[in-house]
Structures are given as structure tokens and as C-alpha cells.
């Protein structure tokens, strides 16, 4: 099969074929990651409405299709056919670019996310650094949307989002530093491999060897920072309906709004996947004897996603100064102290990560 394609390509495109083939093959892989991802986003919205519905003793969506399963499709179609309205005196170019700037980094990060030992688009050495770098760009979508809408509410939302995302990124980065300290690598595949060995793993209780147990406080800090980074409840002051209508996307309609929505949910899935990879052993099985598989990763991701929805249904929205206090005065000192604690632990004779 491959030889036939290679022969055919060289015939038509000559020497340029290998690089051309590289581009085509990479594009095919990208589609193979993005298509299921978008489907997962669509059904995450359904899952969210159902879960919150059951938590509030309601049924959730149940009209479109059996059990309401076609609801996300219907929502998507509705948004697709709606008109995009430009506010007067809006900066049109930036207004259009902003949703793309929110969505593009959320997708680009998936290039380095490994699904099992071999299944990864780009197995680069510094994949954790790449994730930090690209996901730090997602703030621009929100900020520019708020500025270009020419609306006070949107602008306030953008300001809040910018300050919040920049603050929580620091705590998140510190938590990741500890993970890479004990794994000795910036590569996500190596980080998962580092979690597969240990005292408990040798005795068949692999799930106790994963990073979540020795790094429990950082696991919590990382995940809560992830919730804050994605502007999800209870940290969703950027869109706080009770104060600033809908925050940064108040003037967006139709597909432009839908793209923000997609970006938010893609980032949620990303944070859940990263938490599973960094702290919950990725694709490794929880007990000895069970086969490692990408399905474990999917299961752990769904488990972490459920927390997002659970938080949203349970906690009231934080006040803005409380968010800042939690980020700067609780999480950052806590993570800095833990860097020292783990550093000393690693130098001591009780080091468990050799």
C-alpha cells in the first residue's frame, strides 16, 4: 500500500514527493486527532447538561433524538445558521480574529499529547514546555474579544480574564516543575513511564505508584489552576452573568460565539488529559496484570472532566478578589514550598524516584 503511494507520488511530483508526503501524512494524523476531539467536545456539552441536570433533580436535555442524544448536533446547527452581528464601532478584523486566537492554541497543544507508548503526533523532547508555551497564548482570544467588541462589559470581562489566567499560570508552572523534577524529563511519554515503576507497582497496586499520591497537594493545585485557567465555574468571573452580563463574549453571536465555546471545552478536555498524564499514570492500568491501553487514558480523562461539571454544579462563583488571593497568596507559596520539600526528599535516603 505505502509503496504504491510512494511510487505514484514520485511519478507525479518527482523529488519534492517525500516532503509533500510528510505534509499530507501529518495532516491526516491531525484530522485523526481533531475530529474525535470535536465530537468529544460536542458530547461533553451534552454530558455537562445531563450531569448538572441530575445533580439538580432535573432530566436535562431529552427532546432531540433518543435520550436527547442529538441535542449537541442541533445546537451546533442552530449556531451555524445564526447571523454574526458586528457591534457598532467594533474593530472588525480583531473581532473576527479573536475567536480563532482562542481556539487555535487549544487545538495546537494536542500535537504533543501522547495517547499511548507510540500513539503521538510529535514526540518532542520538551513537550511539557511546549504545552506551557502554547497554552499561555490562549489568553489573547479572550482579551482581544473584550477589547474589540467596544463594550464596557466585554472589556471588564477581558481585563478580569487576563489577570486571572496570568496569575494561575504561575502556580500551574510551579506544579509542573515538581513533576518534571521527579520524572527527570520534560517529555510526557517519559513522565508516564516514570510513574509505571515503584514499590507499589511491583506489588500489583500500580495506581498507588502514580504521581497523585506523593504529590497530592500539587495534584490539587494543578487541577484547580486548570479550572481557573479555562475560566470555568467557580472561577468564571470573566463571564460572570450576574455582574457583567456575559463578559468577554457578550457581543458575539452565531458561529463566532460557538468557536469560543469550542475553545473552552477543548481546553477543559486538555486540562483533564494533562492531569491524567501527569498525575494519574496516563495510559497505564491501575492494577498489575491488566493491559495498558489508551482506553485507560480516556477513562481517567472522563473522570477528571466529571470533576469540572461537579464543581460547576456545587460551588458558587468566587468573588474576584478571592480568586486573586487564592492564586497569589495560597497556591504560589504552597507550590514553592513543595518544590523545596520534594527537592530535599529527593536528596534524602528515602528518595522513592530513583
Amino acid at each position: 500500500m505505502e509503496e504504491t503511494i510512494a511510487q505514484f507520488g514520485t511519478q507525479w511530483f518527482g523529488a519534492a514527493w517525500p516532503s509533500l508526503w510528510l505534509v499530507i501524512w501529518t495532516l491526516v494524523k491531525i484530522v485523526a486527532i481533531v475530529a474525535p476531539l470535536l465530537l468529544a467536545v460536542a458530547y461533553l456539552t451534552y454530558f455537562e447538561r445531563k450531569v448538572i441536570g441530575f445533580m439538580q433533580v432535573r432530566m436535562g436535555p431529552n427532546r432531540v433524538g433518543p435520550l436527547g442524544l442529538l441535542q449537541p448536533i442541533a445546537d451546533g446547527l442552530k449556531l451555524l445558521f445564526k447571523e454574526i452581528i458586528f457591534p457598532s464601532w467594533a474593530d472588525k478584523k480583531v473581532f473576527v480574529i479573536a475567536p480563532m486566537l482562542a481556539f487555535a492554541p487549544a487545538l495546537a497543544v494536542w500535537a504533543v499529547v501522547p495517547f499511548n507508548d507510540a500513539l503521538v503526533l510529535a514526540n518532542i523532547d520538551a513537550s511539557l514546555l511546549y504545552i506551557l508555551a502554547i497554552s499561555s497564548m490562549s489568553v489573547y482570544g479572550v482579551v482581544l474579544a473584550g477589547w474589540s467588541s467596544n463594550s464596557k462589559y466585554a472589556f471588564l470581562g477581558a481585563m478580569r480574564a487576563a489577570a486571572q489566567i496570568v496569575s494561575y499560570e504561575i502556580a500551574m508552572g510551579f506544579a509542573l516543575i515538581v513533576v518534571l523534577m521527579i520524572s527527570g524529563s520534560l517529555n510526557l511519554t517519559d513522565i508516564v513511564h516514570a510513574q509505571q515503576k515503584g514499590w507499589f507497582a511491583d506489588r500489583g497496586l500500580a495506581f498507588l505508584s502514580w504521581n497523585w499520591l506523593p504529590l497530592l497537594p500539587l495534584f490539587v493545585v494543578y487541577f484547580v489552576s486548570g479550572v481557573a485557567e479555562t475560566n470555568r465555574a467557580p472561577f468564571d468571573v470573566a463571564e460572570g452573568e450576574s455582574e457583567i452580563v456575559a463578559g468577554f463574549h457578550v457581543d458575539y453571536s452565531g458561529m463566532a460565539f460557538a468557536v469560543f465555546f469550542l475553545a473552552e471545552y477543548t481546553e477543559m478536555i486538555l486540562v483533564a488529559v494533562l492531569t491524567s498524564l501527569l498525575f494519574l499514570g496516563g495510559w497505564s492500568a491501575p492494577f498489575g496484570g491488566l493491559p495498558d491501553s489508551a482506553w485507560w487514558l480516556v477513562g481517567k480523562t472522563c473522570f477528571m472532566l466529571f470533576f469540572f461539571l461537579w464543581f460547576r454544579a456545587t460551588f458558587p462563583r468566587y468573588r474576584y478578589d478571592h480568586i486573586m488571593r487564592l492564586g497569589w497568596k495560597v497556591f504560589i507559596p504552597l507550590t514553592v514550598v513543595w518544590i523545596f520539600v520534594v527537592g530535599i526528599w529527593m536528596l534524602s535516603p528515602w528518595n522513592i524516584w530513583k
Binding site: S19, L22, D91, V94, I124, D125, A126, L129, Y130, L132, A133, I134, S136, M137, V139, Y140, V143, L144, W147, F155, A158, M159, A162, I165, V166, E169, L186, D321, H322, R325
Partner: protein, 222 residues
Amino acid sequence: MDFEAFIFFFLATILVVASLRVITARNPVHAVLYLILAFFTAAGVWLLLEAEFLALVLVMVYIGAVMVLFLFVVMMLDLDLDQVRQGFWRYMPLGALIGFIIVLEMGAIFTHRIFQESAVVPMPGESNTRMLGAILSTDFAYPFELAAVLLLVAIVAAVALTYRGGRTHSGSRAINPAEQVRVQAADRLRIVKMPVTREESEGVEGEEAGTEGEQTGETKAC
């Protein structure tokens, strides 16, 4: 032209155009956006040189943090563009002179033999992130820590400039969330016990209702 050269020229074109737009864009926010684009493509060029650590740190530090704050400030400015442009031709000769000197200096450096000899040599084996880390924490540990202290001084300076006495200074609206959480009903609500009084005189009923209303009002307000 091979694939790598194609990517290089693609990125280089964007980089040059974006840099030009930074200084020609009329709207300052657009200028900042072009600057971000320029940083991003520069990171791409560094990736082509196999300096992945520098490229990613450029994106993380400059695009992810510095430019966000930059944009933050520029967005809140109420700029009068005509005022900014005033005196453009008066300052032009001086600006052109400085620009010319910079071009001369850069030309002198780039034609120097150091730049002629150093073709990019791919690093053998190890990833350069790991190698940089090793060098920074062994050979260059002191300069590295000095740089860190310098940044700390900058942080302290920024705090010192904006510090106005913290929670204790007059007019501070700082609140203590811990106190708010610990608050008890007794701190907010005072229940006043008052003997029932009834005016003996031929009081109007309206007045009586009025005093009663005041009493309940007081208990609620406290």
C-alpha cells in the same frame, strides 16, 4: 529549494512584514498584535535552528506573559493619534540618524568572521533543553543566580513603588476573607429586647404603629 528552506522563507517573510507593521500600524493595539506575531514567527525561526528551548521560552515568557501585560496597558490608554504624530518631521532627522548608526553597527558585526564561521551544528544526542539546564546549574550557576536576584530586586521595587501602607493605612478598603468566613450571626445581628410600652394618653393609633415599626426596623438593621 528544499522543505526547510521553504519554511524558513515563509517564516522570514511574515517576520519582516510583521515587524514593519509594528512601526507603521496606526492603531497601537494593532501594533502590539503585530509585535506578538513577530515574536511568534521568530520562535519558529529558532525552532528551525534546533534551539527548541529558547523558542519555547520566547513564546512562554514574551508572548504568554510580557505581551499580555503590554496589551493590557495599551488597551486601556486613550490615545490621541494626531497628538502622537505631532512633530514627526521635526524628530525625523534624529531618528533616521540613530537608525542609520544601528544598521551600521549590525552590519559591522554580521560581516565579522565569527558569524562567517559559525554554521549551525546540530547538537549531538542529548536534547538541548537538558544541556542548557546542566550548564546553567553548574558552570553558570552564579551568573544565573545573580540574574534571579536582579529580577527579585525588580519585584521588590515594583511593590515598594505601589505600597501605600497595606491594610492599616487610612482609607484602605482591604477586607480579610478569613474574618468574613468566620463571621457569626451575633456579629451582624443585634436583637434588642424592649419592654412593651403603651401610651396612656389618647394616643392616635397611627403613632403607636409608627413606634412599633421603628422597633422592628432597628432589630433588622443591626
